[in-house]
């Protein structure tokens, strides 16, 4: 037993040194690792702080973005409404008519019972809110087709209305046909062919119209 223990002691002293060195070595490594861990911990802590900062800035930016968006919407609405207002102002200015003219016109159309029935109207009264047969025939249009004027078939299809049977009425009797004011008015210019396709106004095709006139000359124009 002594022999073994001596061997063990011998072994141990040799080994002890080794182990001790190893231990010291390990301890040194351990110390270093500890330092490293400490540093890493500090860095990690800093990282966390920075991340928090970043989050805060992110949320600030988002907030700003939201506000800008709202502002943009409000401004867009305001601009749109302003444009609409401008449009309606322009429209109103375009359509501006003196109140005097409107009143005059209102008088004209009401006085003749054109838009409002006469107070004594009963069914059976021949007056109507539109020009009646008789009025139409005794107007300029009606006269144009009067055969006594040597049969010029008028250049308007409406002449077909009274072809062939017309009273010999002279000047317009009804104020809706022409008035002194109207004498100086001119219709919009157009070259005369309506047979061609628009755009632009086209010429009336006089030949076609004549054909139409003769077609209608047969039947009566009583349309009631």
């Amino acid at each position: 037993m002594l022999a073994i223990s001596r061997n063990q002691k011998l072994l141990q002293s040799g080994e002890e040194n080794q182990v001790l060195e190893l231990l010291i070595h390990r301890d040194g490594e351990f110390q270093e690792l500890m330092k490293l861990a400490l540093n890493q911990g500090k860095i990690h802590h800093e990282m966390q702080v920075l991340e928090k900062e970043v989050e805060k800035r992110d949320s600030d930016i988002q907030q700003l973005q939201k506000q800008l968006k709202e502002a943009e919407q409000i401004l867009a609405t305001a601009v749109y409404q302003a444009k609409e207002k401008l449009k309606s102002i322009e429209k109103a200015r375009k359509g501006a008519i003196s109140s005097e003219e409107i009143i005059k016109y209102a008088h004209r159309i009401s006085a003749s019972n054109a838009v409002c029935a006469p107070l004594t109207w009963v069914p059976g009264d021949p007056r109507r809110p539109y020009p009646t047969d008789l009025e139409m025939r005794s107007g300029l249009l009606g006269q144009m087709n009067n055969p006594s004027t040597n049969g010029v078939n008028g250049h308007l299809p409406g002449d077909a209305l009274a072809a062939g049977r017309l009273p010999d009425v002279l000047a317009p009797q009804y104020p809706w046909q022409a008035s002194d004011m109207a004498m100086s008015m001119l219709p919009p210019n157009h070259s005369h062919d309506f047979l061609l396709e628009p755009p632009g106004h086209n010429k009336e095709n006089e030949d076609d119209v004549e054909v139409m006139s003769t077609d209608s000359s047969s039947s009566s124009s009583d349309s009631d």
Binding site: G95, I97, E101, Y105, R108, I109, S112, A114, V115, C116, A117, L119, W121, R128, P129, Y130, P131, T132, M136, G139, L140, L141, M144, V152, G154, H155, L156, P157, G158, A160, L161, P172, W176, Q177, A178, A182, M183, M185, L186, P187, P188, H190, H192, F194, L195, E197, P198, H201, N202, E204, N205, E206, D208, V209, M212, D215, S216, S221, S223, D224
Partner: protein, 130 residues
């Protein structure tokens, strides 16, 4: 005799103005429209283009010469083919005629009702005054 060549000069234009004024107002007469429809005028392309051309009467400087402003509404309706086709029926024309006359009487009826109401009120005041 109305010379075709005279259409080109001023007097001709004035005449054309009067004629178109008359014609556009004739369009307010539903019976006349029925007449035109039955004779196939509405199928003629040239006539349809003419109706479109007549829309210039909507401008205020021309509209002020219209005695029967209802014609403008009819003119607008006539721009639609469906309406032109419907007008061939006499019942359609009759219906439009009736509605037009009823509308025409609207203000007089309103006025009569107002007068009646006033008269009743006066009666009430008299009886309560006594």
């Amino acid at each position: 005799m109305i010379l075709l060549s005279s259409l080109l000069d001023d007097a001709g234009n004035r005449l054309r103005f009067q004629l178109e004024l008359e014609f556009v107002q004739c369009l307010a007469n539903p019976n006349y429209l029925n007449f035109l429809a039955q004779r196939g005028y509405f199928k003629d392309k040239a006539f349809v283009n003419y109706l479109k051309y007549l829309l210039y009467w909507k401008e205020p400087e021309y509209a002020k010469y219209l005695k029967y402003p209802q014609c403008l509404h009819m003119l607008e309706l006539l721009q639609y083919e469906h309406f032109r086709k419907e007008l061939v029926n006499a019942q359609c024309a009759k219906f439009i005629d009736e509605q037009q006359i009823l509308h025409w009487q609207h203000y007089s009826r309103k006025r009569m009702r107002l007068q009646q109401a006033l008269a009743e009120q006066q009666q009430q005041n008299n009886t309560s005054g006594k």
